[in-house]
Symmetry: C2
Subunit: 315 residues, 2 copies
Amino acid sequence: MNLTMKETAAKLKAAEKILVTAHIHPDGDAIGSTLSMWLALRQLGKSAQIYLDDVIPTNLLFLPHVDAIKRPTADEKFDADLLVVLDTSTDRIGKVAAMTDAPILNIDHHVTNSNKDDNDLYLEHDAAATCEIMLALCHELGVEVTKEIATCIYTGIVTDTGFFNYSCTTSKTFHAAAELVDLGVEPNYISEQIEKRTLADVKVMSAALQTMQLYFDGKVAGMFIDAEIEKMADTTEGLVDLIRVINTVEIAFILRYQDEKTCRASLRSKGMDVSKIAKSLGGGGHIRAAGCTLHTNFDDAKNILLKTLGEYFKA
Amino acid sequence: MNLTMKETAAKLKAAEKILVTAHIHPDGDAIGSTLSMWLALRQLGKSAQIYLDDVIPTNLLFLPHVDAIKRPTADEKFDADLLVVLDTSTDRIGKVAAMTDAPILNIDHHVTNSNKDDNDLYLEHDAAATCEIMLALCHELGVEVTKEIATCIYTGIVTDTGFFNYSCTTSKTFHAAAELVDLGVEPNYISEQIEKRTLADVKVMSAALQTMQLYFDGKVAGMFIDAEIEKMADTTEGLVDLIRVINTVEIAFILRYQDEKTCRASLRSKGMDVSKIAKSLGGGGHIRAAGCTLHTNFDDAKNILLKTLGEYFKA
């Protein structure tokens, strides 16, 4: 059932023992929304606990009270009267799903959230981030937005909007940012923390750039994370943007070795629909960001991908 | 004489033939503020012309009416009754200074603007960008902020704040951004334009990353643009940030070959005062961003720089 913000606040106020979670492979919005929710609930005098079935990305460990986030052990249970699922539909929360039978309150901004189990759902798909919803929800709950809460919320907003650069950024997003800065948030401190990289990340960036190739009169650019580079790579996130920005490029891709029979391709465009291309190779995604898994060796995967792209760029 | 915003608006309203300019080596704030000023003045029925003594960076050529910006030829004159100097003190406008004897109206946000010739000056040093001032000035002038004006102003704000990431970003900056988005600005379109790179830029980035070295237990990271890489390089702007973000790094530098007897060092820190280091080598700058010119060959320059940095990092 779809809830209004007022009803959502009422559900939270009625509960006493609340388990808070978000999606696996957590990003700044998942972590920021769980921490701000936990801080808000504690301010309201609730007993609340965050469980997340994954590791926290290193560059988010600066967030206040991040140590309060627990990872469930096998078969661990938690005595709760409400399970709050943030920033995802309820099928991406890993082992947390089995921790409690408490009713679910789902708060999300993803338009793809189909709520197929008909949980209580507050969905605001034009919010740039779940953290943007969290700010309004704090007001609805009468929670004082402390600098700590503001820092968590701001982090979710900047990570989900690519520092206000993605098309999901609205004037509401900027109004929220203005309010958060007035509450003590330091944009330069937060961006410095989020943009921290390991030496290995930078070496992978360097190695990946060396493999760059242009195709089809410079309209396509590719990078190749083969087995050797893959060994060094913690993450390849963001790398494809380094070549997507080339002025002639319409589609950029990165091909990443997984094992001898598996490769992963990520496609990014400036407007062309790459989800179609990914779909034709068994994958999917959005218009400007899509991906697919190719069940073959690295050289064959490269050839298949280039042949498919060629169909879109032949004269 | 320091003017209020009301007096600044009055000066503009009183003039009829207005020459608008900004600093050489123009950035998004220089170009954005001249174009938005020109559009505002034309809306007020003024005769206005922009002259700028430099080339426009390629990634700003998307701005509306950028073709209206002229570059002065030698000894060119312009019949004006007001010279509006934006985003700089009046000593960095190149040949435009000699184009007219009209009184000067200077509008700037740089705290270093000393106004030594005592011109009419509107200085708001806590504005994140001259374009942030331009938005308030449009309101003061009763100018309708069209999508074109808003796009120019937004571009100046994002380039001077590093997309809202520098410490100059305030809640006022975010309120301005919110207003500009409501006026039609598309953040993702503008960032896509600004972040465009040439293939040569990306190749220089790749080559520069290959030269990366860490020193003093990883507290210092350096990149080396020698004569060979320098030949390819259009700009090296932003490259040093690729290594400044490494988690162990406190100071990052880039050393760039200029000629057989000249090298240029740029230093960036996460908090340490690099202006001191630059100053000790004959340069200067800000706490987190400084630079100096070393009048020697590349190898010697590298040794001198590392020796100087070593004094700050010895046990």
